[in-house]
Symmetry: C2
Subunit: 268 residues, 2 copies
């Protein structure tokens, strides 16, 4: 069971990992960033507890401690109990969700670990919006996608906003970096993945026709620029979602959701 | 051509329609609300100009006036030209997009007008999030959906944030209210639409099997509560998107996008 420690003083140094979240986590992944991973709210904290991200402490109001009692039974870390005003002073804003957990980053997974039992993966290039990355993980979890791979130029998936928008699924859906981009996509090919570029190009094949592999890797670029030609050349086929003329490209997490859906639309 | 009027004084009463946008548009649709429709940014202003929402004036910086010159050639309304600081004082915050247009609400469309040539429509119940409604219209436009119908308990689609998130498509994709809810769904049935409820219920039929109509109306409820039993009983079939076990329901705009995609995935 967690050790409950009551906190009245927002300056208490034991809360430093939760301090000024809006600024201190701006770039947690960079040198100087603390590299901490923050879970917000009961549901996301539960998902963190059930993930490879082991929390080191929690900060929350009494009511959330009650709601998490079962989940925290076998967890031997401090729960700093405070009222909403003290919490707001620590984190720097009023927090509706009433509970936070903090974890250190574990060692990143290797590409091979993510691919081991996977049959559907998403591969991102230049997706630098934390909210889109969060949505992508939420959709990946919902539609049974086995992993997410990060090519060049993507934002940190463990940023606080990504974790929140993903509803904690970024802590559960495995991800890894593709180091030599796009050269290391050959690793996927050698493991039998069909590599599919998603593009709005009207000359591309409709996704439903292009997607023929038993194992599929879906490459997606950022809204606007899309995938680089360099990356698309490293894939097997260029596929498009049939769009109405004169409209914009879709949001990247939405486009990904449609491609994930194409994989599961009929029970196999 | 627009009449360009230079503005130095943020208190100029001619700008009152653009004043304090964060508060004055809080509920523009309610009695006491001004009922104005605001377009932000070059792309959305262009879409407004090409819609049934006729702007009454524009406010913007000189650069945006230049970018809109072709679009404004045949438009006989004032363009209030100001610098970014004056604009920020008028609207109440700094506006990156540099140009706004304001329109009055035209008469709402009738249900019959929206259905006239339609083969795919979305029907919403209890969707009260402006951002989700905006995303829904963006996805509807991108995937060739012909109209959106509003049942009980939905938010105003013409709220500023909806217009922005929709990238202006809420001004272009026709929409109407279903007044007697859900009774008036019979109007759709009499026009040959298959009525499909989207639900996460695992007993429902996979969407790809359920969707058999030449004309289809897709009913969607808010994330969380979903459609009411009352509404689902008024439809022909309950359909689900096949989801991974133990995950949450999808965001409503994302679920809608998948259903829209199911209609267009293969060229007909």
């Amino acid at each position: 069971m967690v050790h409950v420690i009551d906190i009245d003083d927002p300056a208490d140094p034991r809360l430093d990992d939760f301090r000024d979240l809006n600024s201190s986590d701006r770039r947690p992944d960079l040198p100087g960033g603390k590299g901490l991973v923050i879970a917000e709210g009961v549901l996301v904290v539960q998902r963190m507890l059930d993930s490879r991200f082991a929390p080191t402490s929690l900060l929350g109001v009494d009511r959330r401690l009650g709601e998490l009692a079962d989940d925290l039974r076998d967890v031997d870390i401090p729960f700093y109990r405070a009222d909403a005003d003290v919490m707001a002073e620590v984190v720097g804003f009023h927090l509706n969700r009433g509970v936070l957990a903090v974890a250190n980053r574990p060692e990143p997974l290797e590409l091979g670990e993510v691919l081991e039992k996977a049959t559907t993966v998403a591969v991102l290039e230049g997706v630098n919006d934390h909210e889109n990355i969060g949505s992508m993980f939420r959709n990946a979890a919902g539609l049974g996608v086995d992993g997410v791979l990060f090519g060049k130029g993507c934002a940190d998936p463990l940023y606080r906003r990504s974790v929140r928008v993903s509803m904690g699924h970024v802590l559960r859906v495995p991800f890894a970096a593709v180091d030599r981009w796009p050269h290391d996509l050959d690793v996927l090919r050698s493991k039998g993945f069909q590599l599919i570029s998603l593009t709005p190009d009207p000359r591309a094949v409709p996704l439903a026709e292009a997607m023929t592999g038993e194992k599929v890797a879906l490459l997606l670029g950022a809204e606007g620029p899309g995938l680089t030609e360099h990356a698309m050349r490293a894939t097997d086929v260029r596929a498009r979602i049939p769009m109405a003329p004169g409209t914009d490209s879709l949001n990247v997490a939405t486009a990904a959701a449609m491609a994930f859906y194409e994989r599961v639309r009929l029970p196999r």
